[in-house]
């Protein structure tokens, strides 16, 4: 993974000093809350319902074991001993004291981590496919490109006060595991007719209260032009994006109001002016790429027979392998998900003790690296298959081997009313109820791939609009109600869910999920997945069943 040089390190150290001074001036009364707000946000600090919340960037989801240990250490010393992973591969501390945040940032900087631009109306952390570099069939590894974008976007002086937040995701594979179509800019590494690799560029995707899928602005962009093209899009948006209404300020609305063709004309006209100045030379591309070269995989890893044998001998192991382990591009190696969706803890949460073990296991089994995923789980990318059984035993002992990846209980969930100042309704307790109600693994496996996404308000942090089953908490005269949508997806076949009908009271939410599942099991054709059934029959049959009693 990328390693800071003196330039990178000096900049984040100076950022810590700058923020320490800003915090000091705020606490001394030299700055109003309104003036301090964007400064703390651009350092990841929100003020939430009960306490501040600090969001730390995990650039494109990559962590070293040393960084994981530091995260555990920080959560113990400055918080309540756990952290929460988000859909954008970052993590959050829910209870830091505002006064100690500069110290936390200094601790993070000591292991090349930061909270820069993890909030605020600026370019946020760039995200990617969690299987980047290790899955088969990739056009090219997106990670070096993410790092190049990270550096270009960090402290970009022109784009620190945009109309609204701005998110970029990059993938190198046709399967979209990074939800690129719901990002402000989605970049797909693609090959053109001549066999050259470049980027397909999408713009104007986003969720929140007006979910919109991104549209193609350029079918093919040469690598050397990546930064100039991004700069052209950002400059057009910075000048044109609406600043009169924060709900209409995202680039998705700019694109919708002006039309993709007009936006394309503006961007291309801007780009022509700057493309020769901001050429990304091969020297720099190669400099960054050298940090992401393939490790020395062992040639004899494929000769192992024990992996198959242990699956025969231990049904629990076999079940975990089937659900949580996926193929690596190198035979003999496996990619292993660590589920953070156990019924015992809120989705995406992990304790300091678990993090310490994860760091230890990463060193022992997976080349010292851990990744975070868009689905709020963690991942070991390079495990030799002969060592999977030993790894599984250790994960199990820590409650980290829940075999539910991509099942109904692998729920994406926001913090909701329990933590968030914006929420209208709770989400974590409902996720727990769903997890407890549907705890029969055979039933879960029979249901197959179903993505529930549940947000406690229309800001939609859990991306409910693109959930196979989307659940959105709304406030009705002080009571918590929930609006269901069906048939959404954030993957390559992205679509927005369709509303099921009127909102449902909190006490009926889990029963409603049960009715939806029963309906699906009755309607599905052979092995048809949930999403395919919904797309085939539409929402009406589900609607009839759910609202039949009233």
């Amino acid at each position: 993974m990328y390693q800071y040089d003196n330039y990178d390190q000096a900049m984040i150290d100076q950022r810590v000093a700058q923020y320490r001074d800003q915090t000091h001036r705020f606490l001394a009364g030299e700055m109003t809350e309104e003036q301090f707000r964007p400064l703390r946000l651009m350092n990841g600090l929100y003020v939430q319902l009960h306490a501040p919340m600090l969001r730390v960037a995990i650039p494109y989801g990559l962590m070293s074991s040393r960084q994981v240990r530091k995260i555990a250490d920080i959560s113990r010393r400055y918080d309540k001993g756990y952290v929460h992973f988000t859909t954008r591969q970052n993590f959050q501390l829910n209870w830091p004291a505002l006064e100690t945040v500069p110290d936390i940032l200094a601790e993070l900087a000591s292991v090349q981590l930061h909270a820069i631009q993890s909030s605020g109306n600026c370019i946020r952390n760039t995200t990617s496919d969690q299987l980047a570099g290790v899955c088969a069939g990739e056009v090219e590894d997106p990670r070096p490109w993410c790092e190049i974008i990270r550096q270009w976007s960090t402290f970009h002086p022109e784009f620190a006060y945009l109309p609204r937040k701005f998110k970029i995701a990059v993938i190198g594979n046709t399967e979209d595991r990074a939800a690129t179509k719901v990002h402000d800019i989605g970049l797909h590494l693609v090959k053109n007719h001549e066999g050259e690799v470049g980027f397909e560029v999408l713009v104007g995707g986003g969720l929140g209260r007006t979910p919109i899928l991104g549209q193609q602005i350029r079918p093919f962009l040469e690598k050397k032009d990546l930064l100039s093209y991004l700069e052209a899009i950002l400059r057009v948006y910075n000048r044109l994006g609406r600043r009169d209404n924060k709900f209409k300020a995202r680039i998705k609305i700019t694109v919708r109001e002006h039309g993709i063709n007009h936006i394309r004309e503006l961007v291309e006209a801007e780009w022509v002016q700057i493309r020769d100045q901001l050429v990304l030379e091969n020297k720099e591309i190669e400099r960054v790429k050298q940090y992401f070269t393939e490790p020395n995989y062992e040639d004899d890893a494929a000769e192992d027979k024990s992996f198959a044998q242990m699956q025969v001998e231990d049904a629990d192991f076999a079940r975990w392998v089937k659900q949580n382990v996926v193929d690596h591009k190198i035979t003999g190696y496996k990619i292993t998900y660590i589920s953070l969706k156990s019924p015992q803890s809120p989705p995406g949460d992990v304790t300091a003790e678990q993090l310490d073990v994860i760091a230890e296991l990463a060193d022992e089994f997976s080349l010292g690296e851990v990744r975070s995923t868009h689905n709020q789980n963690l991942l070991f990318t390079d495990v030799k298959q002969e060592e999977l059984y030993a790894l599984w035993l250790r994960l199990q002992a820590e409650g980290l081997a829940t075999p539910n990846i991509n099942t109904l209980t692998d729920i994406i969930c926001c913090p909701g009313l329990d933590f968030c100042g914006l929420a209208n309704a709770t989400s974590i307790p409902l996720a727990k109820e769903i997890n407890e109600r549907f705890d029969d693994l055979d039933y879960l496996y029979d249901l197959g791939d179903i993505k529930i996404k549940m947000s406690g308000c229309m800001n939609g942090c859990a991306h409910q609009s693109v959930g196979h089953i989307g659940i959105l908490g709304v406030d009705k005269k002080g009571e918590e109600w929930y609006q269901f949508t069906l048939g959404g997806s954030s993957e390559a076949d992205a679509s927005l869910g369709e509303r099921l009908g009127r909102a449902i009271p909190k006490e009926d939410v889990v029963d409603t999920v049960a009715v939806l599942l029963d309906t699906y099991l009755e309607l599905r054709l052979e092995d048809e997945p949930f999403l395919a059934t919904v797309r085939r029959v539409g929402v009406d049959p589900f609607k009839e069943r759910v609202y039949a009693d009233n």
Binding site: D5, M11, Q151, H156, E158, Y161, N238, R243, Q273, L278
Partner: protein
């Protein structure tokens, strides 16, 4: 009043005229609409001429006139309005403007670094107390990844 110019505190010698005030001798700034309606009078008087622009104004329309102005004032109605950061970069990088570019309005000390990187070289800040302390903000960072008005090559060409 005192302003920051080229990282020093200096007395301001400009007068910002509103559209109804009679023209003065000396250094004055006018709005875009006044410049457009009184182009001839303004371009034939003694003294320095400056123009005030906000993010709403069509920057490109005044580009042919840039040689008339020794000062361009970029007005920030609220500190969260970032449009004039792009204006400053365009004026310097694309249109080759070499005169003074000044930030006026709701400006925070913590914005001076980015503003100066975009090519703004003078600052009218409301609170005098803040001015002296604010000078340190120009040194918040010793490097930046991007090409800026101060360092015309991005870091990746220099590292």
């Amino acid at each position: 009043m005192q302003i920051i110019k080229d990282r020093e505190i200096v007395e301001d010698n400009w007068l910002h005229l509103d559209d109804d005030t009679e023209l003065h001798a000396g250094n004055i700034t006018v709005s875009l609409s006044r410049w457009q309606s009184e182009h001839d009078r303004l371009s034939h008087r003694e003294g320095g001429l400056g123009i005030r622009l906000s993010g709403d104004d069509p920057l490109e329309e005044i580009v042919p006139d840039l040689s008339y102005f020794s000062l361009i004032v970029l007005v920030f109605p609220v500190f969260t309005d970032g449009r004039c950061y792009s204006f400053a970069r365009l004026l310097r990088d694309r249109y080759g403007y070499e005169g003074e570019i000044r930030a006026q309005g709701d400006i925070l000390r913590d914005q001076l670094f980015y503003m100066s990187q975009c090519g703004i070289n003078s600052f009218e800040m409301a609170n005098l107390n803040h001015i002296t302390n604010a000078l340190a903000a120009f040194d918040d960072f010793s490097e930046s990844y991007q090409a800026t008005a101060l360092k015309p090559e991005p870091l990746y060409r220099r590292r």
